[in-house]
């Protein structure tokens, strides 16, 4: 089995959400996007922990944004999906689609 297929479902969704938000992807925006996409609120802790894990795996990179008022002087953490992250997503999609294909008749019954 290839390394990239180790992506968990939630990890995939989080990566996709980071891509969807785009350039200014900060954690609260990603969490909002997740909530919209999944149709339910996602707990803060799970988002932060997952992002940390993805960063440790090298699938996303984060950089410090500008300091803004109302944040107690703390910077924003801006997120971006790395090349490796994109590759992992592509692999995950391929292997999943491969699994789906040919089952239409079974599923639409």
């Amino acid at each position: 089995m290839r390394r990239n297929s180790l992506l968990g479902t939630f990890e995939q969704v989080v990566l996709l959400a980071v891509l969807r938000v785009g350039d200014d992807a900060s954690v609260p925006l990603v969490r909002e996007e997740l909530g919209r996409g999944l149709g339910r609120a996602v707990s803060r802790g799970s988002v932060y922990v997952t992002l940390d894990r993805l960063e440790e795996k090298g699938l996303i990179a984060s950089s410090a944004g500008a300091t803004e008022p109302g944040r107690g002087g703390h910077p924003r953490r801006l997120l971006a999906v790395t090349e490796e992250g994109l590759a992992a997503l592509r692999d995950a999609r391929e292997s999943l689609l491969g699994f789906w294909s040919g089952l239409e008749a079974e599923l639409d019954r």
Binding site: S26, V27, P28, S43, R44, G45, S46, Y48, V49, D52, R53, S62, S63, A64, G65, E68, G70, R71, G72, G73, H74, P75, R76, R77
Partner: protein
């Protein structure tokens, strides 16, 4: 601006670390917090912040455990349980983990027992922690000023017996007020005489609220303000955040008026604009230049104060007894010596006229003064919580004992299979620690809720409530509490178990009869103790509740239903004379009376129970006062229709009307108690009273009124408003046909249409205002009542637990009795008898213990004796009924035992 909860923030810092991840997460949460404050309010924002912090903590913990479990040397078996065989001897962590697992399993196996124990611990620890949180913030934490122990309040002290006698003559509110308040001239005299004792000494007047204007288009707001001398702010030792404090020149008559803003006001109205210093705002229509902004946590004398105003706006006359004097004792003088020096130098000091004569000064604790009546109140709550905690502990000990006895068999089997005594003890210990830690955590959660509820329900005037929050001290307190409780609760069954040898246990287990008489007696005495303590709390709660009810039912002499009240304030610039004010209110009242649904409308200097109180010294024709008698009484200006609008009774004479103005004959109305006290047979009508050097004729006797919160019907003198020389705003009273709140918008609109610069505040039904006035007694009754209810519940659970256990142990015996011909009623009687004996004993001891409880509550009781038989009777009845029910349920169950089943049960 509100800050996120400090404790949660420090917790986050701890788990998140320093780098970008940690910092940005803190920032995200803080930004969200501010958004929540706007959208959902402060409390919800705090709850959500905590939710976020705990969610982060939980997921971090999970991630860490997942990563490290292999390192524990622990594997999970196929069923997900720890695999005991794989734990090596001497693997301490693995062993503890296994013990923990066993403890969890045995706790889960007995959900009823676990739930009862946890609930009991939660209530006991939660209530105590919550009250401790408040006590810590209000009573224990030093004032937020540098070297707070050198800050003192200068208060009055009668210098001779005549002074003492005069003091006693004033009504209650007045003497308390006068003890701590002086006129400005007296302050100056005291300051002059004691200058070398203090580094700085100053005075402040926080009795008023002010119309503060922020510029032509920005409108005005009614804000709580405090007039301060330059020395006061220096004495407190707090540097301003922006700008500077007032200089001594600001105290001089004719100085430029200046003002200092609170941090909150600066943020709210000016968005934290740094160029605020030197700008001008108006106070009561008069321009004041902004000298600076005070730091965020500066709250003096209370957190509600939003502006500190220089003496240019203060009254300097001898008639205004509103200044409190605060000093900072010099560092090289011990406070005790300063105290002696101040007393010696101020005795009989000839201070200005007014109520100050024949008095000296003494030094009092500033914190004590600021905290005021909250202190005995909080100590009352703390002792109630302590009693509740004691009951909870007794309950848990009892629960532990029954469980330990029940599981004696299991222990014996473990020992027989080779478990060492230490190993068994460790297992038991793990269980009791787990229960008490869980209980403490749940209790802490409960405490959060209780503290939030307290802040929501506490009277606005409750001192220092801004600092009330669950913080590290409180966490340590509840942790310590849980440890002590855990040890106490764990020791007793361990001690019992150690005395119970294997042989005894095996014998008992096979015989299946009553447990050892000694352990039974110990549990019985615990139940008696619980019942006695619960009765004491019930009596206390009952006394306070009945006292509150008595206060609410009191014949008040007026009818606050269907009365709308509001207070107006006139800009000084446009209403310079009393005649201007009179014209405005004449027109306003005429138009209000013309509104549909208005029965009558009137105005007075201030609203009842609003905290204001004017008094004047008077002379009554034909009455010679005793040598030290104070002829000082409440003096209230009212317009025509006042008595009708308030629903007061005119016993004799007539209402004020248009005739009673400056040109007409000078008249007054007197209250019934004034008439009785100073006129022969109360025949005051036509008599004369001298006020402000002028003789006035009494034209009416008005029925006494008693405002809620007041304890006595004090004499009152009423003066027609048109005669008085009062220029300022007035309180309006509108009696309506329907609900008074319906009329509020139209009256406010009317005022705005007549003059948009007139400020209106405190709009609402009079009932609501009066309800506020009993907020203190309400809080007392509510809290002690809640403690009593909780303790009743715990005690009854205790009785029920012991009885159920005793019956359960004797199932076999009951079966034999039935076989031998005992009737069900006989068995019920037999089983209940023991419970009833315990209840009776508990009540007897409880009554004896309640007598001193009532005594300590005496000062809170309103027309009620501390030995009130009805309260005692009710408390005893409730406890006896509840306890009997708790005995009857297991007894009935025992009587229905099928003899065959019972005999087969072992």
């Amino acid at each position: 601006m509100r800050r996120p909860p400090r404790l949660a923030e420090s917790l986050l810092r701890l788990i998140l670390g320093k780098g970008l991840r940690g910092a940005s997460t803190l920032g995200d949460l803080e930004a969200e917090f501010h958004g929540d404050v706007e959208a959902r309010g402060w409390l919800a924002a705090r709850v959500r912040y905590w939710g976020g912090a705990l969610s982060l903590l939980w997921h971090r913990l999970l991630a860490a455990v997942r990563r490290r479990v292999p390192g524990l040397g622990l594997r999970l078996s196929a069923k997900g349980t720890p695999d005991g065989h794989r734990i090596a001897r001497g693997d301490l962590i693995g062993g503890l983990f296994l013990d923990g697992w066993y403890a969890v399993r045995s706790l889960v196996k007995e959900p009823g027992w676990t739930a009862a124990t946890l609930a009991t611990l939660t209530i006991g620890i939660g209530a105590t922690t919550a009250i401790f949180t408040v006590v810590n913030a209000v009573l224990l934490r030093p004032l937020d000023f540098p070297a707070p122990d050198r800050l003192v309040l200068m208060e009055f002290r009668p210098a001779d017996s005549a002074g003492v006698a005069e003091w006693a003559g004033f009504n209650e509110y007045m003497s308390e007020h006068m003890r701590h308040h002086v006129t400005f001239p007296s302050f100056e005299t005291w300051r002059g005489a004691t200058a070398d004792v203090f580094e700085d000494v100053g005075a402040y007047d926080d009795a008023w609220t002010y119309d503060v204007g922020f510029g032509a288009d920005a409108g005005t707001e009614r804000l709580a303000g405090t007039i301060v001398t330059a020395g006061l702010l220096r004495a407190l030792g707090v540097a301003p955040l922006r700008g500077r404090l007032f200089g001594d020149a600001a105290d001089e008559p004719g100085a430029e008026p200046a003002v200092l803003l609170s941090y909150g006001l600066w943020m709210r109205r000016f968005g934290g604009d740094a160029s605020i210093v030197g700008r001008t705002i108006t106070i009561q229509g008069r321009p004041h230049s902004v000298a600076g902004v005070m730091p965020r946590d500066f709250a003096f004398p209370a957190a509600t104060t939003e502006v500190w105003i220089s003496m240019a706006s203060g009254t300097r006359g001898a008639g205004s007894t509103n200044y409190s004097v605060v000093g900072r004792v010099r560092e090289d003088i011990p406070v005790d010596r300063a105290r002696a020096a101040v007393e010696a130098r101020t005795v009989g000091l000839p201070v200005a006229d007014g109520p100050d004569r024949r008095y000296g000064a003494r030094l009092a604790n500033l914190r004590g003064f600021l905290v005021g009546e909250a202190r005995p109140l909080l100590l009352l709550f703390l002792s109630s919580a302590g009693v509740l905690l004691l009951i909870a502990c007794v309950n848990v000990v009892n629960l532990m004992l029954t469980r330990a006895t029940r599981r004696a068999h299991e222990r014996v089997v473990r020992a027989a299979l080779g478990a060492s005594p230490a190993r068994i003890a460790r297992l038991l210990f793990t269980e009791s620690v787990m229960v008490s830690v869980l209980g403490a955590l749940l209790g802490l959660a409960l405490a959060f809720g209780l503290v939030a509820a307290f802040l929501k329900w506490a009277p606005e005037a409750f001192p220092r409530q801004e600092g009330v929050a669950v913080d590290l001290t409180v966490l340590l307190f509840s942790l310590g509490l849980a440890t002590v409780v855990g040890i106490l609760v764990g020791l007793v069954p361990a001690f019992q178990a150690s005395r119970m040898g294997i042989r005894v246990v095996l014998n008992e287990a096979t015989r299946g009869t009553s447990p050892g008489a000694r352990s039974g007696r110990f549990r019985d005495s615990l139940v008696v103790l619980q019942l006695a303590l619960a009765l004491m709390l019930l009596v206390g709660g009952g006394l306070l509740t009945r006292s509150l009810a008595a206060q609410l039912d009191e014949e008040t002499g007026f009818d606050p239903g269907n009365v709308l009240t509001l207070t107006t304030s006139l800009p000084r610039s446009r209403y310079a004379s009393a005649a201007d004010a009179e014209r405005f209110f004449d027109r306003l009242l005429a138009e209000v009376r013309a509104l549909p649904g208005v029965r009558s409308a009137a105005a007075a200097t201030y609203a009842p129970a609003s905290g204001f109180f004017h008094s004047n010294s008077v002379e009554v024709e034909g009455y010679t006062p005793a040598p030290a008698e104070a002829m000082e009484m409440e003096f209230l200006q009212v317009t025509p229709q006042y008595f009708a609008a308030m629903g007061m009774t005119i016993l004799e004479g007539r209402d004020f009307d248009e005739r009673d103005d400056i040109r007409g004959p000078q008249v007054v109305a007197v209250s019934e108690s004034l008439a009785r006290a100073y006129f022969p047979d109360g025949r005051a009508l036509g008599g004369r009273i001298r006020v402000d050097g002028e003789w006035r004729t009494v034209v009416a006797i008005i029925g006494d009124v008693l405002y809620r919160g007041a304890k006595r019907r004090a004499p009152v003198l009423y003066e027609p408003y048109a005669v008085s020389n009062r220029r300022g705003g007035r309180a309006l009273f509108v009696r309506t046909a329907g609900g008074p709140e319906l009329l509020a918008p139209s009256v406010s609109r009317l005022v705005a249409s007549m003059d948009p610069e007139v400020t209106v505040y405190g709009v609402g039904p009079l009932e609501t205002h009066l309800w506020e006035a009993v907020s203190g007694p309400r809080l007392r009754a509510l809290l002690v009542g809640a403690f009593a209810a909780a303790s009743l519940l715990l005690a009854v659970v205790g009785v029920y637990g012991v009885m159920t256990y005793a019956v359960g142990r004797r199932t076999r015996e009951m079966g034999i009795r039935r076989v031998l011909g005992a009737r069900p009623e006989g068995i019920v009687r037999h089983v209940t008898r023991r419970g009833l004996v315990l209840t009776t004993l508990g009540i007897a001891i409880g009554v004896a213990g309640s007598l001193p409880v009532g005594g300590t509550l005496r000062s809170y009781l309103y027309r009620l004796e501390p030995t009130d038989p009805l309260t005692f009777g009710l408390a005893i009845a409730i406890l006896a009924l509840a306890s009997t029910a708790a005995c009857l349920i297991p007894a009935l169950r025992a009587s229905r035992v099928d003899p065959l089943v019972a005999l087969r049960s072992e």
